[in-house]
């Protein structure tokens, strides 16, 4: 067995996982809200792609529509649901859980429970000597890296990012400096959901698109955040690499079941032994 394709497959899974986790992390870090419907937003992104293709639109149109549609959905969810309960963090888990059930069933009603297929924009493989690898997977990896880098740039280098980090660190002081914290929450929520939608659309040609696909990314996404540490954004990179990498490589080398069980146990152990995450700092507030 050639080892390079295995690592490339693992890398593309890791990158998608990081995209999903990044959206979760922005919302969690910013508002303290655990969005259990995040996996369903990812799933809806993939279904937007299914819809786009069924109307004969090109793949790129799907990639543009997915974050727009899902981001708008995020706006509606923030205004209609999260806004009312973000001071009750445990209730946000339950309420978004209810939302996740409702969204899943909505998709079942609209598309049926069976899985849908999405055709990738390019079919061919890159062939270099003996090595060959699907081109779309390489595109996916490039696009994911660009998106992750872009998100980091927004939060670490722009004025918006400065205000967002201020709101995370000291929400009351930020408000007293004239920063509209509610608006920052809403924008961050929309960015997080749009990222999930885009990730769903990007990965759609590679996986089976079905109403249950969200949970398979939600739980690993959360574990990535907790493993890496919910403080600095870079924690997601470490957490996603560990969770995604262990899962993917063990699945190939041993079996998918062993991989899943092993990764959950490793993640839970890390979280238990280092509750602040691998990169989390214990700085005093």
């Amino acid at each position: 067995m050639d080892i390079l394709p295995v690592f490339l497959d693992a890398s593309s899974y890791i990158l998608i996982l990081i995209l999903v986790a990044l959206g979760l992390m922005i919302v969690f870090g910013m508002m303290g809200v655990i969005n259990m419907a995040h996996g369903e937003l990812f799933m809806i992104g993939a279904y937007v792609m299914v819809m786009a293709q069924s109307y004969g639109l090109p793949f790129v149109a799907g990639l543009i529509l997915a974050p727009l549609v899902v981001g708008f959905l995020g706006l509606v969810i923030e205004a209609g649901l999260i806004r009312h309960i973000y001071l009750r963090p445990l209730d946000t888990i339950l309420a978004t859980w209810g939302l996740s059930i409702a969204l899943k069933q909505l998709i079942v009603l609209l598309f049926g429970p069976e899985s849908q297929s999405v055709v990738g924009p390019v079919d061919g493989s890159l062939v270099i000597g003996d090595f060959q690898y699907p081109i779309y997977r390489l595109i996916l990896m490039g696009a994911s890296i660009a998106l992750i880098a872009g998100t980091f740039w927004i939060f670490l280098k722009t004025d918006f990012g400065l205000m967002a980090r201020a709101v995370i660190a000291r929400p009351e002081t930020a408000a007293a400096l004239g920063i509209d914290t509610r608006r920052m929450y809403r924008l961050s929520f929309v960015i997080g959901t749009a990222l999930a939608g885009l990730a769903g659309a990007l990965v759609a040609p590679l996986i089976s698109v079905d109403p249950q696909m969200g949970l398979g990314y939600l739980v690993p996404g959360f574990l990535s955040i907790l493993v890496g540490g919910a403080g600095p954004l870079a924690g997601v990179l470490v957490g996603g690499t560990i969770v995604g990498g262990v899962n993917n490589l063990l699945a190939v080398w041993i079996s998918p079941v062993t991989a899943l069980i092993a990764v959950y146990i490793i993640a839970i152990l890390i979280i238990r032994l280092r509750p602040e995450g691998l990169l989390g700092n214990r700085r005093a507030k």
Binding site: F28, L94, A102, A230, P275
Partner: protein, 344 residues
Amino acid sequence: MRNSIIGIIVFSVLAVCPLFVGSYWTGQLTNYLVYGLLAISLSLVWGYGGILCFGQAMFFGIGGYVMAVFTKGMIYPDLTSSYIGLIAAMAASSLFAVALGYFLFAGRGISGAYLAIITLAIALVLERLMSNWYALGGYNGLLNIPPIKLVLFGLSYELWDIVPTFYIILGLVAVIYFAVTFLVSTPYGLLLTAIRTHPDRLSFLGYSVLNIRLSVFALSAAIAGLAGALFVTLDGFASPTLIGFTLSTEALIWVAIGGKEMLLAAFLGAIFTRVAESWLSEIFGDYWILILGIAFMISVVLLPKGLLATPFEKLIGKKRRAIPPPPAEGDPSPARPLPPTPDQ
């Protein structure tokens, strides 16, 4: 005391149900009673103990599998007593809870949102594990689990018939309901309230927060394990779905809709949701789950104490009071109480 009067009324109404509904509904209601017992266990650990467990079905499933293994004589062919099975089921669930609880709560324990995610992950792992544990039937589970066999003074009676089964289960559920209701009215209940609201202060007073958490976690697991054990004797089979994600979620919905801080409301939440599901899923078909999800969401947002508990509290006329924080100059403002830390 009006609380227990309402409890008596509820159980009396349930007791006369078989006279009015047919045997099909009596059988269904028996199942719902068992789900109600699971709801009571979740209400105890979550509403009273403050431990939000997203994987309560794992204890239910463990109880179910242990009961199946014992009564099918898979370990000791001679020891197929239902009594031993029930006790073993409760013991296994609570031992697992103690081990898991120690792992989760000891030292700088995990709580709040992190706990929810981790218990959900553990339930997913267990479900996957059971699906691949071929000695225990793997994905198909264990079939032909015998019904409960009552043995008293040398006489034995197997619970095959619907109506006697209903009354035995109802009696058992009622006993546990009243026992737990009594328990939370003792000083132990007060300790639970204190641990939910101000765990740090309790440890200053010399109580072991860990031991109290473990005790309520184990007790709740034992009740859930009993529910699981009863359930497999009714259905005759135990499958990985008993242990995992879907049932855990359903239990959360029942308890949240009913009211997590009131055992009776949680119990009735399970029964009402299941009855509503049987009726409404015929009328609404696939829309039922959509409606349930939305109802769950709305009840969490608008009625955080629960759909049933809110009118109940009015009826009883007493409110469980939280200890108000003392006012102080420079008290951290409650306007946004959460930095998302694992210790909150």
